[in-house]
């Protein structure tokens, strides 16, 4: 599978994944799915086994179930975060957005709701691995918010707030695209680069789909003075985010 190449390309070894899941069936199936896609998997049924595994092994990612016997996955996540920045994807059977927001707020890197498909699981795992591998390994997101022209991006909750204080809903791909721009402000970014950065979210990735995505983002960022000009099209080259970004 192409995905296994992708995951292995940034590391010189297969990524080590720790699964913390109390349901034996799900645990076994998860392990098998990830192994078949080129990942090394350790499985733990509960908190005790998880701590033991964390002591003996170095992991690139933890898949952490929220509802575990005895302990709450959210509490475990908080405890892990005290002395480790290992990427964590929370897994919840409650499927409630509140869980998602809470999980991200206490430092999880992503959230996936049961029942998820193999494709969705691999997509999320891949995205988190790429984000953390390409960045400095083991570093927690260094900042909480980004600001530009009165707009605020909350990196924990993954929300965008306008200058009027209104929450502006973004799709996952739009959010990723915005972050790509905010990471490279006032610089020309080619379509190819944007495509690469947003590949995990866009199923049929093409130049046209990037253009569509940019125009949608532009519309959501409009309505304020200079709003239209926040993302400028550079003919023949790509796009440029024109505002200065304040990293708070």
């Amino acid at each position: 599978m192409a995905s296994s190449d992708l995951m292995a390309q940034s590391l010189d070894r297969a990524p080590e994944i720790l699964i913390v899941e109390d349901d034996p069936g799900v645990r076994v199936l998860l392990a098998r799915t990830l192994r078949e896609n080129g990942l090394n998997v350790t499985a733990a049924p509960a908190a005790t086994e998880m701590w033991r595994a964390l002591k003996t092994n170095q992991f690139d990612l933890i898949l952490l179930d929220i509802m575990l016997p005895g302990t709450n996955g959210l509490d475990l996540c908080r405890q892990i975060r005290k002395d480790s920045a290992v990427p964590i994807i929370m897994v919840s059977a409650r499927g409630e957005e509140i869980d998602r927001v809470l999980g991200l707020e206490i430092g999880a890197d992503d959230y996936i709701a049961k029942p998820f498909s193999t494709k969705e699981l691999l997509g999320r795992v891949r995205a988190v691995l790429r984000r953390t591998v390409s960045g400095p390994i083991g570093a927690a997101p260094p900042r909480e918010t980004l600001q530009f022209e009165g707009w605020t991006v909350d990196l924990r909750r993954r929300t965008l707030q306008s200058a009027e204080g209104a929450e502006v809903e973004l799709s996952g791909a739009e959010y990723d695209l915005l972050l790509s721009f905010l990471d490279n402000p006032q610089r020309i970014i080619g379509r190819d680069r944007l495509l690469e950065l947003s590949r995990s979210r866009i199923s049929d990735a093409s130049d046209r789909s990037i253009d569509v995505l940019v125009s949608r983002l532009r519309r959501k960022l409009s309505g304020q003075e200079g709003g239209e000009a926040l993302i400028r099209t550079v003919r023949g080259a790509g796009y440029m985010f024109t505002a200065a970004v304040d990293r708070a």
Binding site: R94, T118, E167, E169, G223
Partner: protein, 448 residues
């Protein structure tokens, strides 16, 4: 023909009406009674006066010489009663009259010596007081002459009656006012109870203050206990259903992951679509159950961005969904609940039609979200029912479109919690129009 109902609807109104009727009846009754008593006593006074005059007059005239007659007559006359001698009974025979007969009886009773005398009684219009009646009469004297008398204003007691009526009216009015106020006070716990009962089932339990008379306190207590039991029952069921819903997600996850190992792509796709359907059903049940217990806070959100995200997601899947409206519309709402509601409306439109058009129209203090589809619409007589939980149109069942019939119920509840309302109608050009009206500013923090 207009049918006017004077009978009030409220309990307090009715009790007041009953008191009013009672007072009016008592009032009329006592006036009639007083009138009768007055009449009787007054006519008896007259009768006695007349009887005494006749007896004394007859004796004096019989014993005195004829030349003294004018003096005697003058002496006998008073302001109210005059006498004269006439050769004939100048009294016109009166129609038989119970009052006159009564008077005659009273005269005879008071002075039995007059019983054998020839006495004619009648009434005549008063000479001094317009509209009043004088009692006139003649009695035969032993020498063949007639003693004629006139007693003024025989039935005249009305001024007194009027005074009595005036005083009684004021008294009755006062009593009625006081009674109405007392009834109003008594009824206020009952009104509180009625208002509370009216709100039951539209959110969290409404506890009633236990106050007022003992029976009403009992009713309030029973009402509160009943509410506690009902909400307990509902909470238990909700919890049980939610638990089942959550627990089913784990086996569904296993199935999903297992499909990843299936070799036959056709079979895998079919399995995945089945699992997707089951998941959608679970989600709708859980969303419906979460409803009022939703802890999501209201936020200021850009409604356009929220709708665009939904519309774009469908467009990316190749569906014909479009948005028309301003680039930014800000409202105060719960974004997740509202997103689910609007998503339900759009998905509903796509389920029954091919094309969905979403319009956002700011309208004064409100904002209208209009979702039009080009499907078959809903039969007019079913429009009111489709927001009922678990209600499904027959066609939907035949088409085997899945779902539990909770979609519109979730929309209706979510919109109501934002202080808005959902309105469904069939478009004249065909298709269904679902219109959500939201207040731009939330009236208050809401039930949650």
């Amino acid at each position: 023909m207009m049918h006017v109902t004077l009978w009030p609807n409220g309990l307090i109104g009715r009790v007041t009406a009953v008191i009013l009727i009672a007072i009016v009846l008592e009032f009329i009754g006592s006036i009639l009674l007083h009138d009768q008593i007055d009449r009787y006593t007054l006519s008896e006074d007259h009768a006695r006066r007349v009887a005494e005059l006749l007896v004394v007059g007859e004796r004096l005239l019989r014993d005195a010489p004829p030349e003294q007659t004018p003096t005697i007559l003058r002496d006998l006359s008073t302001q109210h009663l005059s006498v004269e001698i006439t050769p004939d009974p100048v009294v016109e025979p009166a129609r038989p009259n119970s009052l006159l007969a009564n008077m005659r009886g009273q005269i005879g009773r008071w002075e039995p010596s007059l019983r054998g005398k020839l006495l004619r009684l009648s009434t005549a219009p008063s000479t001094e007081l317009a509209g009043r009646q004088d009692l006139v009469g003649s009695m035969a004297l032993s020498d063949g002459r007639w003693l004629r008398f006139r007693s003024r204003d025989v039935w005249g007691h009305w001024p007194q009656l009027y005074r009595t009526i005036g005083a009684a009216t004021i008294l009755a009015g006062g009593v009625l006012l006081a009674a109405a106020m007392v009834v109003h006070t008594l009824g206020s716990p009952l009104r509180g109870l009625a208002e509370a009962a009216d709100r039951v089932g539209h959110g969290s339990p409404v506890m009633v203050l236990e106050r007022g008379p003992r029976d009403l306190r009992q009713v309030s207590r029973a009402f509160n206990a009943m509410q506690a039991r009902i909400s307990g029952l509902i909470a238990d069921r909700t919890q049980a259903l939610a638990a089942v819903g959550h627990d089913l997600r784990t086996p569904l996850t296993r199935m999903r992951l297992r499909t990843g190992f299936m070799v036959d792509p056709e079979l895998r796709e079919a399995m995945e679509s089945d699992i997707g359907e089951m998941e959608a059903m679970l989600d709708s049940v859980l969303a419906y159950l979460a409803g009022d217990n939703d802890t999501e806070p209201q936020r200021r959100i850009d409604l356009t961005a929220l709708i665009s995200t939904l519309v774009d997601a469908d467009a990316d899947l190749g569906r014909d969904v479009s948005y028309e409206g301003p680039d930014h519309v800000l409202v105060q709402a719960r974004p997740l609940a509202l997103k689910r509601a609007l998503s339900n409306l759009i998905e509903n439109g796509l389920k029954y039609g091919e094309r969905v058009r979403v319009q956002l129209i700011p309208d004064g203090e409100e904002v209208r979200i209009v979702v039009d589809d080009d499907g078959p619409g809903i039969p007019e007589d079913e429009l009111a029912h489709v927001v009922t939980p678990f209600f499904r149109l027959d066609e939907a069942r035949m088409r085997n479109t899945g779902g539990l019939g909770l979609g519109l119920a979730i929309v209706s509840n979510a919109v109501a919690r934002e202080g808005g309302r959902l309105c469904l109608s069939n478009r004249p050009e065909g298709g269904l129009r679902a219109e959500v009206r939201l207040p731009v500013k939330a009236p208050c923090a809401g039930a949650a």
